[in-house]
C-alpha cells in the first residue's frame, strides 16, 4: 500500500489517515480531533493557505505544513 502526503490530494479526493509524522503534541491533537488511524477524510479545499478537510461530516482547517506531515492512503 502506498502512502502519500495529504497536501498532494486534490479537492474532492477521499482518503484514509495512515500515519502522522508531526511533533508529538501536534500528532496527538490531530488524533484526538479524529484524525486517528483509518479515519476517512475528504479534501474540500486545497488551493493556497490552510487546507480544509471534511471529517465525519465536519470541517477542519489544517495548516499546509501540518497537512504535509499527514500520510494518507486511498480510501
Amino acid at each position: 500500500m502506498e502512502y502519500l502526503s495529504l497536501v498532494h490530494l486534490k479537492e474532492g479526493d477521499t482518503c484514509k489517515v495512515a500515519r502522522i509524522q508531526a511533533g508529538s503534541s501536534a500528532t496527538r491533537r490531530l488524533y484526538e480531533m479524529g484524525f486517528n488511524t483509518g479515519a476517512r477524510l475528504k479534501v474540500l479545499k486545497n488551493d493556497r493557505g490552510p487546507m480544509i478537510v471534511g471529517l465525519g461530516g465536519h470541517k477542519v482547517a489544517l495548516g499546509r505544513g501540518l497537512a504535509a506531515k499527514m500520510l494518507v492512503g486511498r480510501a
Binding site: 484526538e32 488511524t37 490552510p50 465536519h58
Partner: protein, 670 residues
C-alpha cells in the same frame, strides 16, 4: 446543599448554549485559581430543587494538553460534581464521543445531552439514542438547546442519575497488549493511596501523561516494591509511545458504539454551510469579504454606538452632573467637594460612561460573528497573511477584539496553544487602536481635519495593524524563536446566532469594563484631580500645580516630536492611567473645560496640523493603559513582560512620532 452538575463538551458542541438555557441570568463568571481559564457557574431549578451548574472549558480531550483540559479533568475528579452532563453534538458524534470515553474511564456519573438533533436530522444523520444509551451504559437525552428543547428531560435524567447508584461500568479495550499493562498497573496502584480512580491513573500513565506521572511518582509506598520499580522503568517511562494506540483504542470503542446507533447518508447532504463556505473562504474573495464585514462592523459601531446612543449618554451625564451639583449646593458642601464632583468624578467617569454604548454595540456585533461561526473563517482567511509575519490566523481574532478594548483583546489570546504565538499576540495587541482612543482622534480631527475624518481614523487603524505586524515579525525572529505553530481549527457549521448567547457574551465583557470604570478609572481621575489642584494656592490645572510640574518635567522629551508643551505631556501622562482620561485632561489643562468647542479652539492654538498628526501617532502607539498592563502581567504571569510592554511601546510611539514630525517638517509641512 445544592447538588453540583458539571457541563463537559467539545468546543462548538453547543455547551455554552445549554449552560445559558439552564441557568438564564443566574450566572457568575470568574477565574479558576492559579490559571487564566474562565470559570462560569450558575444555578438552575428542577422540581423545586436548586442545582449548581459549573460550565467546564470546552475541550476535545481530558489530557494535559492545555490548561483548559487540566482544569476540566481536575474538577471532574476532585471537585466532586454529583453528575456530569456531557453535551454531544449529534452531527459530529464520533469525535464528541471520544471525550465521552474519557469520562467513562474516570468512572464518573454521566448523562449525555445529544444536542443539535434537529441539524442532524436535516443532514439525514439518524441517531438511535436508546441503542447509544445501551452501549455506553449512561442515559442519553435528545436536546436542541438553542430552542430550549429537551432541557426538562435532561434535568430529570440528571436528577435521577445523581440519586441512582453508579451504573454498570463500561470497560474499554485498547488491544490485548495494552489491556494487559493496564491490568498490571491497576493491581500495583491499588496499593497506593490516590485521590483518583486506579483504572484512569493506569491508562493515563500509559499515555505518558506528565501530570499523572508526577502524582504517582510521589507515592513512596509503591516505589518500595521492587516489581513496581522495574515495571515503571521498563514500561511507564517509555509509555508515550503507546499514546496513539490508546487514542486509536478509544476511537475503536466509539466505532463499535456508533455502528448500530448511528446511521449516516451514503452521500453527504450538501448543506447551506458548504454553499456559503464556497464564497466566504474563496481564495480571492475571502479576504475582501472579511475586510468588508469588518468595515460594516465598525461603521455600525460608530453610527449606533457613538453618534446615536453616545449622544444620549452625553446628555444623560450632563443631567447627572447638574443634579449632583445642585444636590451638593443644597447640602452646603464645601467648594472643593463641588469641584471634585464636577471636574473630577463627573468629568472623568463620565468620559468613560459615555463610551459604554460603543463597546456594547461592538461586542454584540462581534458576538454575532462568533456565534454564527464566521470567526473561524476569519482566522482561516487571515492565516496566510499572519504566517508571513510569523504568526497564525487565530491571532487575528484577538487583534480584532483589541479594537474594542485591549484588555479582552489580551485575554482572547488564551485560545492560542503555542506559547510563542501567545506571547507575541499579547505584546502586539495594544497597537490595535482601542475604542478609548477614538475620542482623542475625534478632537484632533475636529480641530484640524474636519473634512477628512474618515481617512484619518482609517489611517490610525491601518498604522496600528502595520506596526503590529512589523513588531511581530521582529519578535518572531529575535525574542521568541522557534517553530511556526500549526494551524488546526474546526470550522463549525454556520448557525443563526441566539440572542441569549450574544447578549450574555456582551454583558460579560461590558460588565468588566464598567467594573474598571468604577474602580481603576475612578481612582485614576481622583488622583489626577488631586494632582491638579495641589498645592493650595496654585491655579488648579495650571502650570504651578503638581500635575503641571510633572508635565513640565517630561515635556522636553516630546520637543523633537513637535508637542513639547506641558499640557500635551500631562495628557499623555494621564493616558498611561487610562486612555479615556486623555481628552478630559487636555480639556482641563488647555481650556478649563472637559470637551467641546472651547477645547477644539485651544487645540488649534497649541498644535499645528503636523504636530497634531505626530501627537495622534504617539497616542496610538505609546504605553498601554494601566488596565491593559495589569492584564498583560496576569496573562504572561510576569511583571517583567508588563514592564517590557510599557517601555518598548513608548519607544516605538516616540520614534514614529518624532519621525513623522521631523520628516514632515523637512518636506515643508507645518
Amino acid at each position: 446543599m445544592a447538588k453540583t452538575i458539571a457541563l463537559v463538551g467539545n468546543p462548538n458542541s453547543g455547551k455554552t448554549t445549554v449552560f445559558n438555557a439552564l441557568t438564564g441570568a443566574n450566572q457568575h463568571v470568574g477565574n479558576w485559581p492559579g490559571v487564566t481559564v474562565e470559570r462560569k457557574e450558575g444555578q438552575t431549578h428542577h422540581n423545586n430543587q436548586t442545582y449548581r451548574v459549573v460550565d467546564l472549558p470546552g475541550t476535545y480531550s481530558l489530557g494535559a494538553f492545555s490548561e483548559d483540559e487540566v482544569v476540566a479533568r481536575e474538577f471532574i475528579l476532585t471537585g466532586n460534581p454529583d453528575v456530569v452532563i456531557n453535551v454531544v453534538d449529534a452531527t459530529n458524534i464520533e469525535r464528541n464521543l471520544y471525550l465521552t470515553t474519557q469520562l467513562l474511564e474516570m468512572g464518573t456519573k454521566v448523562v449525555i445531552a445529544l444536542n443539535m438533533v434537529d441539524e442532524a436530522e436535516a443532514r439525514e444523520i439518524h441517531v438511535d439514542e436508546k441503542a447509544l444509551a445501551q452501549a455506553l451504559g449512561v442515559p442519553v437525552v435528545r436536546t436542541v438547546a438553542s430552542r430550549r428543547k429537551g432541557l426538562d428531560q435532561l434535568m430529570a435524567a440528571a436528577a435521577a442519575t445523581i440519586h441512582a447508584p453508579m451504573n454498570g461500568h463500561v470497560e474499554l479495550s485498547y488491544g490485548k497488549a495494552i489491556d494487559a499493562k493496564v491490568a498490571r498497573l491497576r493491581a500495583f496502584l491499588a496499593k497506593g493511596d490516590f485521590p483518583y480512580p486506579q483504572g484512569w491513573l493506569a491508562v493515563k500513565l500509559l499515555e505518558g501523561d506528565e501530570y499523572v506521572r508526577q502524582v504517582v511518582s510521589e507515592s513512596p509506598a509503591l516505589f518500595e516494591l521492587k516489581t513496581f520499580r522495574q515495571f515503571w522503568d521498563e514500561t511507564v517511562i517509555h509509555a508515550g509511545d503507546l499514546q496513539l494506540d490508546i487514542v486509536d483504542g478509544r476511537y475503536k470503542f466509539v466505532g463499535e458504539v456508533t455502528k448500530h446507533a448511528v446511521r449516516r447518508p451514503e452521500v453527504e447532504v450538501e448543506t447551506f454551510t458548504d454553499k456559503l463556505d464556497r464564497v466566504l473562504t474563496h481564495r480571492y474573495w475571502g479576504m475582501p469579504i472579511f475586510a468588508g464585514i469588518m468595515l460594516i462592523v465598525f461603521q455600525l459601531t460608530f453610527a449606533i454606538g457613538q453618534d446615536f446612543l453616545g449622544e444620549w449618554m452625553v446628555v444623560g451625564m450632563d443631567y447627572v452632573g447638574e443634579g449632583l451639583d445642585r444636590l451638593l449646593v443644597t447640602l452646603n458642601a464645601p467648594g472643593w467637594l463641588l469641584d471634585f464632583a464636577s471636574n473630577g468624578v463627573v468629568a472623568g467617569v463620565g468620559a468613560v460612561v459615555e463610551f459604554v454604548p460603543l463597546i456594547v454595540i461592538l461586542y454584540m456585533l462581534m458576538g454575532i460573528l462568533e456565534d454564527s461561526g464566521y470567526m473561524a473563517r476569519a482566522a482561516y482567511v487571515m492565516d496566510n497573511t499572519m504566517r508571513a509575519v510569523g504568526l497564525q490566523g487565530k491571532t487575528f481574532i484577538s487583534m480584532i477584539v483589541g479594537f474594542g478594548c485591549n484588555v479582552p483583546g489580551v485575554m482572547a489570546t488564551r485560545t492560542l496553544e503555542n506559547r510563542k504565538d501567545r506571547m507575541i499576540a499579547i505584546l502586539i495587541n495594544p497597537f490595535m487602536s482601542c475604542g478609548a482612543k477614538i475620542p482623542i482622534y475625534l478632537v484632533f480631527i475636529a480641530a484640524f481635519f474636519p473634512t477628512h475624518g474618515g481617512i484619518v481614523l482609517f489611517s490610525a487603524y491601518a498604522l496600528g495593524i502595520l506596526v503590529a505586524f512589523l513588531v511581530a515579525k521582529v519578535f518572531s525572529k529575535t525574542l521568541f524563536k522557534g517553530e511556526v505553530s500549526h494551524f488546526i481549527m474546526e470550522l463549525p457549521p454556520y448557525r443563526t446566532p441566539t440572542l441569549t448567547n450574544v447578549l450574555r457574551n456582551m454583558w460579560d465583557n461590558v460588565s468588566g469594563f464598567l467594573a474598571r470604570a468604577g474602580t481603576t478609572i475612578f481612582a485614576v481621575v481622583s488622583l489626577l484631580w488631586v494632582l491638579a489642584v495641589l498645592p493650595t494656592g496654585a491655579e488648579p490645572y495650571g502650570p504651578a500645580s503638581i500635575l503641571g510640574s510633572i508635565g513640565q518635567f517630561i515635556a522636553p522629551i516630546f520637543t523633537p516630536a513637535g508637542f513639547g508643551n506641558w499640557q500635551a505631556a500631562v495628557g499623555l501622562f494621564s493616558g498611561i492611567a487610562a486612555k479615556e482620561a486623555v481628552v478630559a485632561t487636555l480639556g482641563m489643562v488647555y481650556a478649563g473645560v472637559e470637551e467641546g468647542a472651547a477645547l477644539v479652539t485651544a487645540i488649534q492654538g497649541a498644535f499645528t496640523p503636523l504636530s497634531a498628526v505626530s501627537f495622534m501617532v504617539m497616542t496610538l502607539l505609546y504605553t498601554p493603559c494601566a488596565a491593559t498592563l495589569g492584564t498583560i502581567r496576569k496573562e504572561t504571569g510576569s511583571g517583567k513582560w508588563a514592564l517590557f510592554s510599557a517601555v518598548y511601546a513608548f519607544a516605538i510611539g516616540w520614534l514614529l512620532a518624532v519621525a513623522v514630525f521631523q520628516i514632515g517638517s523637512l518636506m515643508g509641512f507645518a
